[in-house]
């Protein structure tokens, strides 16, 4: 691992036993199955995939809330797991949640929501706590005098600002944004995205942007990783991913961005549903939905391998497909 990486995920696998009773063996759910990712300080990585592809499990293992079955997660030089000092992890990695209506305790004022973590982390001087709460509120675009209001007295966008303030109050280095705008009105989304970008510049943050929506990731990421059924199928700089996507799944996701003018990829859709991760198809896990699948895809799984500098694809036909304009 390079010393400069803030987050290094190496061959991470998280498997959960599912079902199973007194007489039956539990099945293994391979939520994350061999993922490697790196984020450098100040960098944003967009992680894209449909629901159920393992994005959330990946986030939980970075936060040290789930133990890896295989591989490891190294955050700022420390390997994290459920036995790691939670307070230390909390000061390095924080999270912005999807639903601003469910992610704020309705019985706590904003001040309590922001001050309690500070106190928990050893800042007991009440003057300093009040100053940091006021400063944080200002940074996320709220007025310090709104600190004594309850969550229900704010709009959705304001609530998400509070959620962001809570994630940043401990001055973390890495912030996992789990669909930070998908629950918001379209008119508010740009504001929140811009706020996240401003805060990144101001505080030198790294982001892991989790989204099913490539349109959001496009605005926020230096690098993009596309995840499908627990594996990374394509990763690279955002320019490579958006301008020269190689994996049929990435192409389908980009084709799904509603944009009438610029997308040249046409109607390359992924048909059907995501297969159950309990029983993934043999070969390439995308083959049942892939318009370009050949026999080889159904026989053996492709490996994530470089197709150009910093651009990795896991597809047997990546070379040929780069020229196909479907």
């Amino acid at each position: 691992m390079a010393d400069t990486d803030l987050l290094a995920i190496e061959d991470l696998a998280v498997h959960f036993p599912v079902g199973g009773g007194m007489f039956s063996q539990p099945q293994m759910l391979r939520a994350v199955d061999g993922v490697s990712l790196r984020i450098r300080p100040g960098e944003s990585l967009g992680l894209v995939g449909e629901s159920g592809c393992g994005k959330s499990t990946l986030a939980l293992s970075i936060l040290g809330l789930v133990d890896p079955t295989r591989g490891r997660v190294v955050v700022d030089g420390t390997a994290v797991g459920t036995d790691t000092d939670r307070l230390a992890v909390a000061r390095t990695v924080q999270m912005v949640f999807q639903d601003p209506y469910a992610s704020l305790n309705p019985r706590q004022t904003v001040r309590r929501t922001l001050a309690a973590p500070l106190r928990l982390h050893g800042i007991t001087n009440s003057g300093e706590v009040a100053d940091r709460v006021a400063e944080m509120l200002r940074q996320v675009g709220l007025r310090p005098d709104q600190a004594d209001l309850y969550p229900h007295e704010f709009s959705g966008g304001q609530r998400q600002r509070i959620g962001i303030a809570r994630a940043l109050i401990l001055k973390p280095k890495l912030v996992i944004c789990d669909e930070p705008v998908s629950a918001l009105d379209v008119s508010i989304r740009a504001q929140i995205i811009n706020l996240l970008l401003e805060l990144q510049a101001e505080m030198g943050l790294s982001y892991l942007m989790i989204s099913h929506d490539l349109g959001v990731v496009e605005h926020m990421s230096d690098k993009v990783a596309v995840m499908y059924l627990g594996r990374i199928v394509e990763t690279g700089g955002w320019r490579e991913i958006f301008e020269r996507p190689r994996h049929p799944y990435t192409r389908a996701l980009i084709a799904a961005i509603p944009d009438p003018l610029t997308r040249a990829l046409g109607r390359e859709k992924a048909h059907g549903e995501v297969p159950s991760p309990l029983n993934p198809p043999p070969g390439c896990t995308f083959n049942p939905r892939c318009p370009h699948a050949i026999d080889k895809c159904r026989a053996s799984p492709p490996v994530l391998s470089p197709i150009e500098e910093g651009h990795l694809v896991s597809c047997w036909r990546a070379e040929e497909l780069s020229t196909v304009r479907a």
Partner: protein, 272 residues
């Protein structure tokens, strides 16, 4: 507006009940036990006997005043024990899940399957009669509803984003339960606790009737009510007044609980 009415009426009635509980002996006209006079048996309410007299000619007003002590102590005391047990088991079971949840569920099912009065009887048989053992017996046998409800609430609350956020911020399990889960399960728990108080006051009557609670001549609302059953058609005041006392107390506690729940919930408070 509604909140204030609930709180004011509930608080007033509860205060009245507590006042009677504390100062009952001074409000009574006669000794509730010694002043029996068969010449005065079953007199209807009058200027001399405000609530009438019972079969032994004792002044019902005085007995209701004295009875408040026992009934309120048992009612409030056992409900406190019930709520403490039920909430602790329910919240931890809902939050932690796993084998502990299975264990608590089994225990709750067991408690629901055995009639609580029979169970209380068994406990009383071990502890012996008396006010304290009565409180413990009723406190150990009526927590299953509180437990069920608080477990369901905890299950619903633990998946909320703010509980995950607390975990991400480094909160420990106990701190999460106290600061995030418990405040958001409090509403229904308060309602159940106050609703259950009427039940425990009546259960005390049943146990007293069986000779395991408060010994017969000592007055409690419940025992007065059960003594009055035979004369309910001929001398209804015997059951009416202790019944009213229980009714007013339970109504007051329920309204108070309702009002408290509203005050504790920031969302029902008006925007400042």
């Amino acid at each position: 507006m509604k909140i204030q009415a609930n709180l004011a009426i509930g608080g007033g009635l509860t205060a009245l009940a507590l006042f009677v509980g504390v100062f009952g002996p001074w409000l009574a006209h006669t000794d509730p036990i010694m002043d029996a006079n068969l010449m005065n048996a079953e007199l209807s309410p009058s200027a001399e006997f405000w609530f009438g007299t019972d079969q032994q000619g004792r002044d019902i007003w005085s007995r209701v005043m004295y009875g408040a002590q026992i009934s309120l102590t048992v009612g409030i005391g056992s409900q406190l024990i019930n709520t403490a047990i039920g909430t602790t088991l329910g919240v931890t079971a809902g939050y932690w899940g796993g084998w502990w949840d299975d264990f608590v569920n089994g225990l709750t099912n067991l408690m629901l399957a055995i009639p609580s009065l029979i169970f209380a009887l068994a406990i009383m048989a071990i502890l012996g009669p008396g006010l304290t053992s009565l409180m413990i017996a009723l406190g150990l046998t009526n927590w299953s509803y509180t437990c069920r409800i608080s477990r369901a609430q905890a299950l619903a609350v633990r998946t909320q984003g703010y509980v995950q956020a607390a975990r991400v911020l480094g909160y420990g399990d106990v701190r999460i339960m106290f600061t995030q889960i418990l405040p958001n399960t409090l509403g229904p728990i308060i309602v159940i606790a106050t609703l259950g108080m009427g039940g425990t006051i009546l259960a005390e009557a049943a146990l007293s009737f069986l000779g395991l609670g408060v010994r017969p001549p000592a007055p409690s609302w419940g025992s007065m009510l059960s003594d009055a059953r035979e004369t309910i058609t001929t001398a209804p005041w015997l059951s009416l007044f202790p019944g009213l006392a229980i009714f007013i107390t339970v109504l007051g506690l329920n309204l108070l609980g309702d009002g408290l729940r509203d005050v504790l919930d920031p969302q029902s408070r008006s925007r400042r």
